[in-house]
Amino acid sequence: MNNNKPKILTANEASMIVESSVIKRRKKDARLKTYGRIAIGLAVSFLIFLFVSIFSKGIPGFFQYYVTLDVYLDRDRLDPKGDLSPESLYNGDARSIVLESLYKVINPKGRKEKKAAKKIISTNADVRISKMVLDDPNILGKTIPITFAVDDDIDSFLRGYIKRETPSSERRINDTVIKFVDKLSAENKISYKFSDYILTGSASRSPEIAGIKGAFIGSLLTLAVCFIIAFPLGVATAVYLEEFAPKNRITEIIEVNINNLAAVPSVVFGILGLAIFIGVFGMPRSIPLLGGMVLALMTLPTIIISSRAAIRAVPPSIKDAAYGIGASKLQTIFHHVLPLAMPGMLTGTIIGMAQALGETAPLLMIGMVAFIVDIPGGVTDPGTVLPVQIFMWADFAERMFIQKTSSAIIVLLVFLIFMNAAAVILRKKLERRW
């Protein structure tokens, strides 16, 4: 080998070798580009798949099947005491009035068929009638058509989830019920329309009347508490750390602390709430006040970090001008720096609030998972929030709850989109470039 002189290439040969290697190298380049495209394509298609699967289940969840019956509202039976008070109506016989008008359409024979017919209409029918009578007592004594939600099994049957072909023993509804439902459909008594319950009802074990109003109000209350605590505290901390804090050990510890808190898993904040707020201070469980406090501690680092960035972005010339005309440091900050930094701070706060809105785990630990039918009227009433409601409904076995869960998710996502859009608009509208 040593004796061989290095082979000298002619210009032509050299350019041919380079050419072929360039083709290879370009191919490699194109390959990397393709990998990048595939990666982004995959990520985006996951996103689309997620949305399609949620929306395809959730949109039908906003609708449900109703049966329309001509009901004779018998005054004596509905209102036995005759004073139209809620308890008199509660003692009334609305349920059997509804059933009788149903029997008139489908003519069940014998006890067995009547028992089957009872399964068609939601158990909530009597509440609906009582409410109608309370709203307008003049309808008593008249015969009027009223629509009632059908039971969730019938709903699933009408949607085709419960198949006619399945043997009767494996179906949740038997042949007699199917016969009656067919009869109702043949008489045009069954309709499919926007659900009365999904947006205005509260938690219930019967999926056909379950709604998200209670959880939605709970979410609003919790977020309000979270904002009232976290925003002033976060802004105050940011102002202090940016403008006043002496450069010493304590300041350093505070800063490290805030960064660490941002990294702590959210479930740990739930433990904090459980051990300190409930365990030591004896606060009641399940209340939006407590949930808001826990979420406030969780979002505080986000707000502090973004507020500090916003304060830092205000140019020193503004401050210098204020100092120049004799403002004190505090006046400079409150009259000039804070108003200019406010859009940035609000953007960070809204993003933090959006995180808090979607947070579930810490709220599970402080008992917001309890089954609460009443809609909370204040921050100290027990309540739940949207994500926790979603978590609870996802656990229920009834087919209809899957759709209701997806509908609740859609509401939550719309809520989140609004918040994030607000943040983006705020940033675009109010942010000034210096």
Partner: protein, 461 residues
């Protein structure tokens, strides 16, 4: 008359003080005296002077009377209940508390009625005391502040001092939160390790807290419940690993493409799209994993003859991977963008293709940041709760098979602490020990990520 009306009264008093302070300052000004500060600073000074001590005493009484009373009320519980083996302070207190609020279920024992009447009386006294203390503080100290007003007094400086110390106080909250977290976890963990040896917790291979048949210590029935946390950590590790297998390649390739190949328009479309993935609540991912992905995987597995559990680590890990894609892609994208253009230009100047510049120049230069982003994603994955609670199941199998059902640390914490619990039992305490290890692990990861970034950050500047 309740706590809220007292707060409003306090606010009214300080508003009045503001008015008086302001008025006095204005009248001084009318006498052609040269004031040190603007008149309203005198008002604010008096108002703050009256409100802050009063608020402090108000909160002090409000928070600590409950704690004091709940300790005193135990005196009213009969001896035989106190000494009975299933005595539970929390339940007894809740019983009395319900009686105070007038929520009854059936007949109450006599002592509950007596105790609750006593409690109502105490609460009333404490409210009166609170009214008296707070209002007299608001009036008294407010008056002291009011007397300070004269033309020599530098009210602005005092107001600013007060406000700055308030700002400083609010930054303490962050420290208090940390202290609260540390204490709540360490305190309970120590009690747990007093019952269960730490060696069993750290190295035990079976996690089975469900059979808490009897008291473990001293009852002769040892070994009914076992608290070996290894299966949980293996499960956490397995799911995080699957998540990383999904998110690291997708995240990194996306970041490289977006920062090096994509034009402005593509970037403005795809970057926000990827970030949407991070904004979706985890409970939505959990629902998606449990109801869409898991059945898909089970059916797909049975098609090719694999037996996939209905709550498999694979489904949970896969969905978690989707969730953390943006953490990796966004952070890496920022780091890659931060690589100085001169390095790229040097590479191109030597005739390199984009691919060569990326693999030989940009990636090595951005590596610390990329590693940091992956570490942060790992700490995210370890701390993630809802996806695993909903999709990975609760069976503490010691298994490295991604097709099995496994459980994680966070999922166990949630299942143990949700709902009713006895604070004294080893089962409840074990959740705190798990949380302690979780915090320690995430903090170490976080510190390490920051360290990596810090150490290599200025190499190319």
């Amino acid at each position: 008359m309740n706590e809220y009306s007292l707060l409003i009264i306090l606010l009214l008093i300080s508003t009045l003080w503001f008015y008086f302070g302001n008025k006095t300052a204005l009248s001084l000004k009318k006498k052609q005296l040269k004031l040190n500060s603007l008149p309203h600073y005198y008002g604010i000074y008096v108002a703050l002077y009256s409100f802050i001590p009063a608020l402090f005493s108000y909160l002090l009484i409000l928070v600590f009377d409950g704690i004091l009373f709940s300790n005193l009320i135990i005196e009213f519980v009969p001896k035989e209940i106190l000494n009975s083996p299933d005595f539970n302070k929390i339940i007894v207190l809740a019983q009395i508390d319900n009686a105070v609020r007038g929520i009854y279920f059936g007949e109450q024992p006599d002592w509950v009625t007596i105790a609750s009447n006593q409690m109502i009386e105490w609460n009333y006294h404490s409210l009166i005391l609170n009214f008296f203390c707070s209002i007299s503080l608001a009036l008294g100290i407010g008056y002291l502040g009011f007397k300070n007003i004269n033309e020599e007094f530098r009210s602005r400086n005092s107001v600013e001092k007060i406000i700055i110390s308030l700002l400083g106080l609010s930054s303490i909250i962050a420290i208090l939160t940390t202290i609260g977290i540390v204490f709540s976890v360490i305190f309970e963990s120590l009690r747990f390790f007093a019952i269960i040896p730490a060696s069993e917790f750290l190295f035990g291979l079976i996690w089975n807290p469900q059979f808490e048949g009897a008291e473990r210590a001293g009852s002769g029935q040892e070994g009914l419940a076992t608290y070996g946390s290894v299966p949980l950590f293996v499960g956490t590790f397995l799911i995080s690993l699957i998540a990383l297998c999904v998110s690291v390649p997708i995240g990194l390739f996306s970041a490289v493409y977006l920062s090096e190949y994509a034009n402005k328009k593509e970037r403005s479309i795809f970057k926000p799209l990827l970030e949407i993935l991070a904004g979706i609540p985890t409970v939505v991912y959990g629902f998606f994993a449990a109801l869409t992905v898991a059945p898909l995987m089970r059916n797909g597995g049975s098609l090719i003859g694999l037996d996939v559990a209905s709550e498999s680590a694979l489904a949970a890990g896969f969905v978690m991977g989707i969730m953390i894609i943006p953490f990796i892609s966004s952070l890496s994208d920022d780091v890659i963008n931060a690589v100085p253009q001169s390095l790229r230009d040097a590479g191109y100047g030597l005739g390199s293709t984009k691919n060569e510049v990326i693999t030989n120049v940009i990636i090595p230069a951005a590596l610390p940041g990329i590693i940091a982003s992956i570490i942060l994603a790992v700490s995210r994955a370890i701390g993630e709760t809802m996806i695993v609670v909903m999709a990975a199941g609760l069976a503490a199998n010691l298994s490295f098979n991604p097709l099995d059902a496994v459980t994680t640390v966070t999922a166990q914490i949630v299942t143990i602490l949700v709902g009713d619990q006895e604070f004294e039992s080893a089962k409840t305490l074990s959740a705190f020990a798990l949380a302690l290890t979780l915090i320690v692990i995430t903090l170490i990861l976080n510190f390490y990520a920051l360290h990596v970034v810090k150490k290599y950050r200025e190499q190319y500047e």
